[in-house]
Structure formats: C-alpha cells, structure tokens
C-alpha cells in the first residue's frame, strides 16, 4: 500500500462528489464524429418505441387502432392521463411501489454492507465456503425458487401484503458480492488506524468504510431500485387485491381479455416510467458502472 493509494481514494471520493453535481467532462470541439454514423441509427431504433408510447398515450382509442401506426401526434388528448387516475387506483399503486422500492433499497444497502464487510475483512471459520454458497445462488434462476419462497412467505402470513414483496428481497447475493469486492479495494491501513484509534468493528464500517464507499453504494441502490420498480412476476404471484398492487402489476390489469384501452395503458406506462427515467438521468454513471460490474456475475 502506498501513499498514492490514499490520495487516489480521496480523489475517488471527490470524483463521486463531482458526479453528484453532474459536472460533465469538457466536450470535444467537433460536434460530429464517425462514431455518430453508428450511434445515431442505434439511438433511433431505441427511441422509436418510447416515442410511439408517448404518442399513443395522447391519442384517442380510434387513432390507436390506425394502421400503419402514426409516430406523429395527430391529437393531444391529455385527459387520457387524468382518465387513468380516475379509472384505476393508480396513485395507490404508485405509493405501494415507492414504499416497496425504498424499503428494499435501504435493506439492501444495510444488510449487504454488513455481510459484504464481514466477507471482505473478518476472518471466521467457513468464510470462503459460505461466500461461495452465496455466490452459487446467483446461478439459480428465480423460477426455481418461486414455490419455496412462496411457501415461506405464506407461513409468515404475508401473502397479499407489501411485506411479501419486501421481506424476501431485503438482501441480495449480488449486493453482498458487489460490496465485498469494493470493500476489499479500500486500503486496510485505514481500518487498522481506526482500530488503534479505538473504533469498534461496526464503528469502522459506519464511520470509515461506508463513507468511502459512496460510488459502490450508489451503484447498488440504483440497480436495486430498477429491479424492484420493474419487478412483475413476484408481485403477480403474491398480490391479488387491487389496493396492494404495484405499478407493474396494475398496468397489466389494463389489458383486458376482450378489450384493451391502449391509449390509457400507454399513459399509465409513461407515468410509471418517470421515476426510473429521473433516476437514470441523475445517476447514469452508476447504471453504467453497475452493468459493468454485473459482467462479473458469470
């Protein structure tokens, strides 16, 4: 370990702070490069469905059935949005989702930090074995554990409550793995200095390690937010009362067996996307970093 690493660490913390302030690196003088020839078509392909969704959400029901579909708005039926709010307990779903997401994100930050730190720094019997077992759970598809998880949640009496969505997701193998990897990169001397200064294990974690782990925690928070917000299958299995539904589940109820109000569905969709879009806007770098890390999941 060298002095340089200590400086580097401080620099990293500074960089994180700068990212929060959304300071962009200086842009190049040239507005166009050959990369744009590749990037622009890809961007168009990515953006078209979103535009189509936005346009559809502002059309009348007749217009939505027009063939070929239009990408240019022909009318601006803003009342679609208020209709959605009237026809369905949309705000209730929104609040439900927000509660579940916030609690799950907070739980992951807390429990994955504790577990990740233990695996990174505390020597205990069977540490490697337990860690490998936790990693192994990443390779088990969710569909395999649906039934046992359902039975456990049922025994807790949580079926058809928000608790069913929160409890099984309070910690994640992915989060433990990611934070452990990050904690191991912090200079051990900082923790030794804190030990000599008299800090306890938890004191070291909360006063030294976590304040220096801003980027890693932000990445985990962003990923868990997105996963939880967009989760559909688990809420579909455990929730059936409309007042306990999440947004994704509620949206599905707009698709009737005989008739679908596409314009209203799209209006609801647009609204459900806003938090994720906002998050992406402000924490774009952490998404990228997180996806780069998920590459390690193997």
């Amino acid at each position: 370990m060298s002095e340089i690493e200590t400086i580097d660490l401080a620099a990293r913390a500074d960089e994180a702070a700068r990212m929060m302030r959304e300071e962009e690196p200086k842009s190049s003088r040239f507005l166009f490069s050959s990369w744009h020839l590749v990037l622009i078509p890809i961007a168009v392909v990515m953006v078209i469905p979103l535009v189509w969704m936005l346009v559809t959400s502002l059309q009348t029901l007749e217009e939505t059935r027009h063939y070929p579909p239009t990408l240019v708005p022909t009318s601006l039926e803003f009342h679609n949005y208020t209709d959605v709010l009237k026809q369905a307990p949309f705000s209730r779903w929104f609040v439900n989702t927000l509660v579940v997401t916030i609690v799950v994100v907070a739980g992951n930050l807390l429990f994955c930090s504790l577990a990740g730190y233990a695996f990174a720094r505390i020597k205990f019997f069977g540490r490697e074995v337990v860690f490998v077992l936790i990693l192994a759970t990443l390779m088990i598809p969710f569909q395999v554990v649906i039934i046992p998880t359902f039975l456990i949640v049922k025994r807790f009496g949580l079926i058809d409550t928000l608790g069913a969505l929160i409890l099984p997701n309070l910690a994640s193998a992915f989060g433990i793995f990611m934070l452990r990897q990050f904690f191991r990169t912090l200079p051990i001397e900082l923790e030794e200095a804190a030990r000599i200064d008299g800090a306890s294990r938890l004191g070291i974690l909360f006063k030294i390690v976590l304040p220096l782990s801003g980027p890693a925690l932000a990445t985990l928070a962003v990923i868990m937010f997105m996963w939880t917000w967009n989760d559909f299958l688990w809420p579909l299995i455990t929730i059936y009362s409309p007042q306990n539904m999440t947004i994704q589940l509620g949206l599905a109820t707009f698709q009737g067996a005989h008739q679908t109000n596409t314009n209203l569905l799209m209006a609801a969709n647009v609204m459900s996307m806003i938090p994720v879009l906002l998050l992406f806007f402000f924490a774009q770098r952490y998404f990228v970093r997180g996806i780069a890390t998920t590459g390690l999941k193997g």
């Binding site: 370990m1 060298s2 002095e3 690493e5 200590t6 400086i7 660490l9 401080a10 620099a11 913390a13 500074d14 200079p187 001397e189 900082l190 030794e192 200095a193 804190a194 030990r195 000599i196 200064d197 008299g198 800090a199 306890s200 004191g203 006063k207 030294i208 304040p211 220096l212």
Partner: protein
C-alpha cells in the same frame, strides 16, 4: 508513558513462515528505539505485534508492566503512524485528529484543547479545515503525527514514517521528530530501513535480519563494534569493505598486507575496513594497493570506488547481488571516502593507508566478530 517489553516473541505466518524468531526486547520508559533492517526482516511485524494488529504465535508482550497479548489495539493505549499515513480521506484534518479522542468519549472541550495543542506543535493551525487530498506529502505526514500526538498515548509506534517524503523534507522531518520526542519524552518504537534515520534518531538501535535480532546497542557502539558480518555490512554508508584474509602467527594477512594480531588464529576471516578509515598513503605504514575506478565528489567528501587485489566477502546485508564495477580476475571492489583535497582521478594507481586499530575482524565460520 510506559516501558514496552517483548519476551521471547515468535510470529509465524500461515503456520510455517517465520516472521519473528524468539525476539526479546526491552524498551525503557521514554526511550527512542529504532528497529532497522532490510525489507522482510520482521521489523514491521514486531511493531504490528506491539500495536495489537497481529497476534503473537508465542511469547509475551507487555506495555507498562501489563501483558497485553489478549488486549485489543483500542485498549493498549498506543498510537501508530503508518507508512502511507492512513489519514481518513473523507474527514477534515481536525476530524482526523479528533477521531481517536471521540471514539474514546473524551469531553468536547478536552478534544478541542488537545487538537489545538498538537496542531500548534506541528504547525497545522491553518490546515485544520482541509481534507487529506488537499495537503502536500509533508503536511500529511504532520497530520499523521498529530493524530498520534493528540492521543497522549503510552507509546508511539512509527512504521517508516518518513519513507514517502522527498530527501530534503525527510531531513527536516527527522529533526522535527527528534525535537518532538525530546519535548514529550514518550516511549517510541520506530521502524525504518534507512540507516541514517536509525543512526540519527535512536537512543538505541536494534538491527534485525530474517526475523532475528542481530545486535542491540547505541548507534555509535553498533557502528564502531558491529558484532557480526551482517551488522558490519548493513550499518554504515557507504558500507564497510569486507575482504577475505586469514590470521596466523600473530598476523592478520590480507594479500600482501600484514597487520599485527594478538587474538587466536583463524584460517578464514573477513577483514572489515570502513571506507572513511581509508586514506591515501605513502609507501611506509600498512597499506593496500588500489586502482581508482569511479570518483564521486560530494562537496564535503569524495567517495572513491576502485579495486584491490583480493576476494570480497558478502555480509548478507546487500540489497542486491553486488555488481563489480571493474573487478577482473582476483580483484575485489573497494570503496574509500577521502577529504576533497585528496580527490584522485579515475585510473590512478595509489596506496590506501590502513589504521590497525580500526580494522574489524569476523570469523567466516561463525560470521561473528573476533576480538584480540
């Protein structure tokens, strides 16, 4: 303040790597003790054992008369300065200094007083609101010292605290460390591989190699009377010249050179000659033949590298295998330090005068010093 005692302390890593082998050390109350040795000699391990960051595999460690083998670092009441300073990057200088006191629930006015006091001693007053990243290397070093000072501990442990500073700053901080120690008189254990720091700072120095103590003593005593080949080769800069010779019939024989010898005979000895004890000489008096190879004028002295007839002996303290500059055949590299007036020119043939009572002798079988 307290004395520190290591009693037959052994440390194994991974069950079979011996980092420390039966180390016994007594550090007196208020003493400045230096642990010096090449990298991997166990000096940092010894310090970490005293700090409580490692547990000894055997033996006892006592601070202030209390055995602390099972006491946590927190309750040992020692302070440590790390080689890379280990300042908390997310805290201001003030918070860095106050952290250890806060963790011990020191009352706020007391924290304030001690931080002010330490920052006055170290000249940190203007930096208290800055973060470590905004400080220069020397300033960081001071903050690391300050963090130890505010604790007013029983003992200071310093792990190569100056090695990350540039040469000029190092000399300055060295003097400052000595001044602080003279002022506060806190028991200090200081680890370094730099023998200049060892010689200038320590009340006593402990020369270590391969997890074992080679010699303990006052710096001048260790310099004047190295007890074995390793210490002879390690202490002194440039290092002592060691040449193969023999002792027979009351004479030390080194090639053509013969010196009177009152000790026992020995078929194989290393003859140690400090570079600063070698002087240009005439034909009379004991002397060595010498061919100058490279001349390094340093202003107040001239370091002269060259060769003489004979075979060099390795002390085991060399950083790397010696690269003979111009040693051909049976010639050994040898270094001398002259006064500037005596500066020779490269290629010059001359004679080096040897003072008989400044010659060190080591038995090559035991590698220990021989006395008459």
């Amino acid at each position: 303040m307290a004395e520190v005692r290591l009693d037959h302390v052994t440390k194994l890593f991974g069950g079979d790597v011996v980092a420390l082998d039966d180390l016994t050390l007594d550090v007196a109350d208020g003493e400045f003790l230096i642990l010096v040795g090449p990298s991997g000699c166990g000096k940092t391990t010894a310090l970490r054992l005293v700090a409580g960051l490692e547990k000894p595999s055997g033996g006892a460690i006592a601070i202030g008369g209390r055995v602390v083998n099972d006491v946590t670092p927190r309750d040992r009441d020692i302070a440590m300065v790390f080689q890379n300073y280990a300042l908390y990057p997310h805290m201001t200088v003030y918070k860095n200094l106050a952290f250890g006191l806060k963790e011990r629930h020191t009352p706020k006015p007391e924290i304030e007083r001690r931080v002010r006091e330490a920052s006055a001693i170290l000249g940190l007053d203007d930096l208290l609101r800055r973060r470590p990243a905004q400080l220069s290397g020397g300033q960081r070093q001071r903050v690391a010292m300050g963090r130890a000072l505010v604790r007013e501990p029983k003992a200071f442990l310093l792990d190569e605290p100056l090695s990350n500073l540039d040469a000029k700053l190092r000399v300055q901080m060295r003097a400052e460390l000595k001044r602080i120690h003279q002022r506060l008189g806190i028991t200090t254990i200081y680890v370094t591989h730099d023998q200049v720091e060892a010689m200038t700072l320590g009340d006593r120095i402990v020369v270590m190699s391969n997890g074992r103590v080679q010699q303990i003593g006052k710096p001048q005593d260790v310099y004047r009377h190295p007890e074995n080949l390793f210490v002879a080769g390690f202490i002194g800069s440039p290092p002592m010249n060691l040449l193969r010779g023999r002792c027979t019939d009351g004479c030390i024989r080194l090639g053509e050179l013969e010196l009177p010898w009152a000790g026992p005979d020995a078929p194989e000895v290393a003859v140690g000659l400090r570079p600063e004890d070698l002087r240009p000489a005439g034909e009379d008096g004991p002397s060595l033949e010498f061919v100058v190879d490279v001349v390094e004028p340093l202003g107040n002295e001239v370091v002269v590298h060259g060769t003489t007839a004979g075979t060099a002996v390795e002390s085991g303290a060399e950083e790397e295998a010696e690269i003979p500059l111009a040693a051909e055949g049976a010639r050994a590299a040898i270094t001398a330090v002259f006064a500037p007036a005596d500066e020779p020119s490269p290629g010059e043939r001359m004679r080096l005068g040897v003072v008989p009572d400044r010659v060190h002798l080591f038995d090559l079988r035991t590698r220990e010093a021989m006395g008459p």
